[in-house]
Symmetry: C2
Subunit: 381 residues, 2 copies
Amino acid sequence: MKDKTFLMIPGPTPMPESALMEMAKHPMAHRSKEFSNILKEVFENLKYVFQTKNDVFLFTASGTGAMCAALENLINEGDKVLCLSIGNFGARWEKIAKSRGAEVIEIEAKAGDIIKPEILEEELNKNKDIKIVTLTHSETSTGAANDIKTLCSIIKNHGALSIVDGITSLCAMEFKTDEWNIDVAVSGSQKGFMIAPGLSFLTASEKAFKMHENCKFPSFYFNWSEHKKSLSKDTTPFTPAVNLICSLHTSLKMIREEGIENINKRHKKLTLALRSAIREIGLKLLVEDDKNASHSITSILPPENITVPDIRKTLKDDYDIIVANGQGNLENKIFRIGTLGFVSERDLIMAVGSLEASLIKLGYKFNVGSGVKKLIEELNK
Amino acid sequence: MKDKTFLMIPGPTPMPESALMEMAKHPMAHRSKEFSNILKEVFENLKYVFQTKNDVFLFTASGTGAMCAALENLINEGDKVLCLSIGNFGARWEKIAKSRGAEVIEIEAKAGDIIKPEILEEELNKNKDIKIVTLTHSETSTGAANDIKTLCSIIKNHGALSIVDGITSLCAMEFKTDEWNIDVAVSGSQKGFMIAPGLSFLTASEKAFKMHENCKFPSFYFNWSEHKKSLSKDTTPFTPAVNLICSLHTSLKMIREEGIENINKRHKKLTLALRSAIREIGLKLLVEDDKNASHSITSILPPENITVPDIRKTLKDDYDIIVANGQGNLENKIFRIGTLGFVSERDLIMAVGSLEASLIKLGYKFNVGSGVKKLIEELNK
């Protein structure tokens, strides 16, 4: 049906009506007092979501822009950077670091696995001159999630800076920037923040700012010092995407009302219930252990003799639900269901029910209704 | 009155209702066929507006992002760059070039003046090793506009690359990328394109692409080669601001319908009529000669004994019209009225009438009604 499409991908996510309506207003003057008042509240509420006492900068850019903003304010040619990769987005850190002339060491986990603390420790001991370590919290391409708290404490003890991609984890999972010793954290608007793509966020510790001061050619557009200066005056260095910011202003108020701990719990509950339902209908999960699962995205293997494109097509054509394919090597090997952002129990019941309806149409033999039953039982626990 | 604010600043500009409505739809999946179809048309129509046969890349970023995208794909440390500055935004090129280690030569014109061709010629003859020349078409901070056609032909003869800021000139003024030998041109969404801020555009000539190939550390986020590769598949390298792109899709269709030559003429007519009306009521223009005037923004000096803040405050409080202050050294010395984008004769009659009403309230002695009369006469010519 026209206009019925419902996204269950790891961003963009569905949006609350009130945040959508903000988008349709005539743009505000970006240097007006009225807009500065909005920005002031946005900056304050971003600190709440990132759980930090430091500033959170706001960029008019995709999440990848914020990833560039992280490394391009720190790296000088020849710097040694350790990139811990558990999928496509982990590998992106490596590409950005190399684009600035860094000497990159990469540790890559198998698809669906996470980084083991002892391997990080070993690598840091072998290379005492590692300056920066990049990590992914929730890996969007696989649905695995690293134990950031443990990994960042190891990095802190070694003395390097930790840079964490929290693009699909902020809001969906517990994320404590200051308490967990994360030096630089980034995220994006079309994820747990429940609005459209086009904005991204970054926070940096004092220690990161000290390293930034020695960066010879820091990014101009994403320059931390310029953003800090503007932020202190409730403004941005360059014309920002004002409509997106007004929309974010609304969604951040919703986030504060629900409370970040409750939002984390909601995502965890939805994901674990989805995982139980998937197992119940006899499908396999790419990330086997619940402990290693991201709470924003779940990667599912299709049953034998049924293809990922067929499952995605049936869900789309007959039920107007979009789920994601795998990326890179995982294309057509897995499909991914997002539970990120403005997603409720009702949405998940619909998704699991529609998945069951699609699978039966495609000839998969199973106890129809068992997935929804299991889901409801888990949700009602 | 609440919700009555009308922007007459050099961007953001008022928006057509149909483009606003696109903003309020749930975000589309950025890797879907449906979205690719939209992007394909957007890319095609951007080429029409830029008057080029080359690709026009689309960035999720402010106009300044596209300026960075221009220089950060070309400059190596130590390269000689000539920056021709006629105001604040001309000076921004210089800052970006320096942030990449370029050796910058600056020529600065007095506020309101433009770059004289003979001065450019002289400088290029003195410095045969200049690799890149940056220029501004319409200088937003003063309302002056360079003769890009003449300047770029001189640059071409010398052999350097020309990089033109067309942020407030595209649509408002004739701009022929290919015919005028412009190597790199940039613009932004919240200007002549009539939509909200958050997108920017760049096109690069074959010659520019050749220089790009020798850039040692090209920008990652704004990388031309990556954007070219994605564009050929009707997509973007990173998640773009999909709602803004759907909005742009609508406004570009309006631009094609009206026709770029007609849009150029409309802006010229509005600006010249405004300038006549301003002179008629006895105020001075910062850019004295009509030949040097931008057709997107007009800088006006306040009458003696009346301040710029008082004029802006009266226009805002009593008539809900926002006009811009001067920037930097020109703050409180001029105010600036935008005629850029979705602005009609009716809007300008309202603005000049409201300006007259404000001036009489502030004690300025003049023949009330004479500005509107002159404006109408010029518009009806």
